[in-house]
Symmetry: C2
Subunit: 302 residues, 2 copies
């Protein structure tokens, strides 16, 4: 088919990691990303973390390149053959200070199996503590525009996959307003490889731009104790999703990854209250009612 | 063998639930347990929750009796045959206000399969935010005393099972100082059934007594911001254990249980900090160093 590309992909991702950190730092204005390069038996990475900023409570933009073995059970779960693999990826999450600014997550990953199988996966999704329909529309529009540069079939497909993936069955809630998600996209040939490679690069590129614009719009909206408490309740749902369902988290923890790098996705603080229900008609209740699959955000009227 | 006993067991557990709530309320002095009886297709329960007390931040003592179907995969994981089951149990957790008071957890459960198989499971374990060796010794001594009333082989066996079960592999930490844990104890005959039934009743009986005495010793120790932050970091490990590994939580969520009743085990607040390390020689560091399996707490010198 074509040669192994893992080094090429890893190098491109690493470069875009630095660009994303730079753009987020510029917008944040006060805190900086640490650099924490690590090497373990399974591979290497650079965990870049920002804490305690004026606008950003906690953010991570992580790069890693690891090798490992797909056990029978892991391979079966993924619909793949067992064997050795190499994988590289960028994984990021941003928890803002202001409850009116959403949480964002982006991840792209590339796998190469020793038998020659290769695939890409990834996604971007937004988790507003308070859903703003216009912001949601713009976010989905921007993702659709990026997708359409590569293939007009991608957005509807990947939007649906995001709705299904970023879902908490035990709460019957989506994690947020979704976005795009895809996994196990195996390129058929070199041209197809290039398409997905460029697509994942485009996602890492657009990610900080999208978030900076959202953050700039919202970070100075006044808020109080009530909004912070609600933010912490929503953050607890984020914790539940990541620990109960997130494939990357599970894969990382069972494959002997760097625990602190994997769980840097956890919010700085989270709160749980038994049977908490927002007041009828409140903004909190409006948000809860919009945490549903299959909402066409681009057409939805405010 | 002998008739089904689920109603008998459920009635005894229900009674002890009320006793435990009463004793904890007395010691707390201000907040009371709510009563929240529920009925769903799968069964019924009574979720009793206390919030915002002077000494207790959040506590739950839950009773349930449910029926369901052990699917092929669930049965295989448990080493059982597939089929319909009835199950009843008490599950409890207490999150104190004062960081010097430990978190406690107790659970007992009884299963009956349609093919006649029956088993008991359960345990009690203590999770101090700050480990106190004398308190740990007394706690384990009390558990050993209860176990010995039934069988002198139980404590060493169940203590080891607790060390193995209440363990976070990704952190290489135990959840706390352990306690006792057992599962799938199938009585061989009626006398054996009585033994385990009485043993689980003894656990629900001793549980509030043990905790009240620990709480009384510690609840008025002064603490500040530093201790609260540390408490919230330790609480986040509790969240990780329950969502990543706890069998009861997983079983409850996949079998269509009452989500709010299951996740009432979550602490009121939890905090995560990337690569937080306590100061060398601090009490926080001493606690971390004691979060290990196979510590003989009864013989350990302070």
């Amino acid at each position: 088919m074509y040669d192994n590309k893992i080094e090429l992909v890893a190098a491109a991702y690493r470069k875009l990691q630095d660009r994303a950190c730079y753009l987020i730092e510029e917008a944040e204005g006060s805190a900086l990303f640490s650099k924490d390069p690590w090497k373990k038996e399974i591979g290497e990475g650079n965990t870049r973390v920002m804490k305690g900023g004026d606008k950003i409570a906690k953010a991570a933009i992580n790069y890693s390149m690891v090798t490992g073995n797909y056990s029978e059970s892991m391979a079966k779960a993924a619909g793949k053959s067992p064997g050795n693999f190499s994988a590289t990826g960028i994984s990021s999450i941003i928890h803002p200070v202001n409850p009116y600014v959403p949480i964002i997550h982006m991840n792209v990953r590339y796998f190469e199996m020793e038998n020659g199988t290769k695939w890409f996966g990834g996604g971007i999704d937004l988790t507003p503590h308070y859903i703003d329909i216009e912001e949601s529309r713009n976010f989905h529009k921007a993702l659709k525009t990026v997708c359409n540069r590569f293939d007009i079939n991608l957005y509807p497909l990947f939007k649906k996959e995001a709705d299904n993936y970023f879902f908490l069955p035990h709460r019957q809630e989506t994690r947020g307003i979704g976005g795009i998600f895809f996994d196990h996209k195996e390129p058929d040939n070199s041209a197809d490889f290039e398409k997905y490679f460029e697509f994942t690069k485009a996602l890492i590129t657009i990610y900080p731009e999208l978030y900076v614009s959202i953050m700039e719009n919202k970070h100075s909206i006044p808020y109080g104790e009530k909004e912070i408490l609600w933010q912490n309740y929503r953050r607890s749902r984020y914790v539940e999703f990541n620990l109960l369902y997130d494939r990357g988290t599970k894969f990382g923890l069972v494959s002997g990854g760097n625990t602190e790098s994997i769980l840097v996705s956890m919010p700085p603080v989270a709160a749980w209250d038994y049977q908490y229900k927002p007041a009828p008609g409140s903004d909190e209740e409006k948000t809860l009612k919009l945490l549903k699959k299959d909402i066409d955000w681009i057409s939805l009227m405010s």
